[in-house]
């Protein structure tokens, strides 16, 4: 409710938007648990980004934070509060960036610029994942008293896999996903905060 109020102050109890966030969060969680055995390959980042792109940065950020609220608490790899907070905040970057990009691309017709947009989304996925890995690795280093440089260097192979998979996912899947969501939620989409 708080999230709805932040995004749409005049429609505080708009149930469709609340359900939209819930469904997206559920999709993220479902995909995360389904891919638990595949290290550093997650569809969640793409879903958070696309939710931000289509429904605005606040909803995108909310989805990112809510997903990690649940996934961080009920995580088979364990629970560390500092890293939990870092991942929650870092994940929200995908949603915020998606929202800002969606706002700036509101005049662009997706199907007519497919190649250019795919490259743009792929690069965005790469850079956002780089930021996410950087923040979470620094949080890991500070939490476990590991030298930051050593933690960053040791995390590079995992980061590269994460970044490469997100580059491909963002580049290939963003446009079809956004197109489907825009059709499904026509009338609800607005390029404002």
């Amino acid at each position: 409710m708080l999230i709805s109020w932040m995004d749409y102050p005049s429609n505080m109890f708009e149930s469709r938007k609340a359900s939209l966030i819930a469904v997206t969060v559920a999709a993220c969680l479902g995909s995360n648990y389904a891919l638990i055995g595949v290290a550093n390959f997650k569809v969640m980042d793409l879903l958070v980004f696309v939710s931000g792109f289509v429904f605005g940065p606040m909803i995108g950020a909310s989805v990112g934070i809510l997903v990690w609220t649940v996934y961080g608490l009920l995580n088979p790899y364990g629970f560390v509060p500092q890293i939990w907070i870092a991942t929650m905040l870092s994940e929200s970057i995908y949603g915020v960036a998606g929202g800002l990009l969606g706002k700036s691309l509101s005049a662009v017709r997706l199907p007519s610029n497919r190649a250019g947009l795919s490259i743009l989304f792929g690069a965005t996925g790469f850079l956002l994942t780089l930021t996410y890995d950087l923040v979470t690795n620094i949080a890991f280093a500070l939490t476990f008293n590991v030298p930051i440089i050593a933690a960053l260097i040791a995390g590079i192979p995992f980061a590269i896999i994460h970044e490469a998979s997100n580059t491909v996912l963002f580049g290939i899947c963003s446009i079809p996903l956004i197109t489907v969501l825009e059709r499904s939620y026509r009338g609800m989409i607005s390029w404002r905060f």
Partner: protein
Amino acid sequence: MAFLKNKWALAAICILCWAIAASLLLGYYYYQYTDLTSRLERSKAIINLGIDYGNGTRIWFNGTRGLTLYDAMLEAGWKVDAESYGTMGLYVKAINGVEQSIEQSRYWTWWMWTSLGWAHGGSACDKYVLSNGETILWYYSYADPKTFEITPPP
């Protein structure tokens, strides 16, 4: 969003991502390389290495460091002419310009000092991993052409 139509701008974005990823991998492998070399440097053994030319000249290089005997020979500044026999290792044909002589039946062999005296090395010098404090001598040995028995150092 005119840059979506600009091929150069899109190519620049791709190259930027590639450059970041390549730099990350470069940093990772550089760190791995320097870490490995520093560990290997720390694990080098310190030995007493000697060379006996079989003519009464014996020179010692005490405190020589190396991972293998071949490393230590190079560390001591010797000029080693060796031939590789694959997994069997290096066969030393000449040291410091003194070549083996089939006519005179003289060959380069290495020996380790033990409580019982000199013991023949028994393996290729690049396959032998050194331990701290060992005393190893390269000797220009005479080998009996009939029995192939090698004369140990005096």
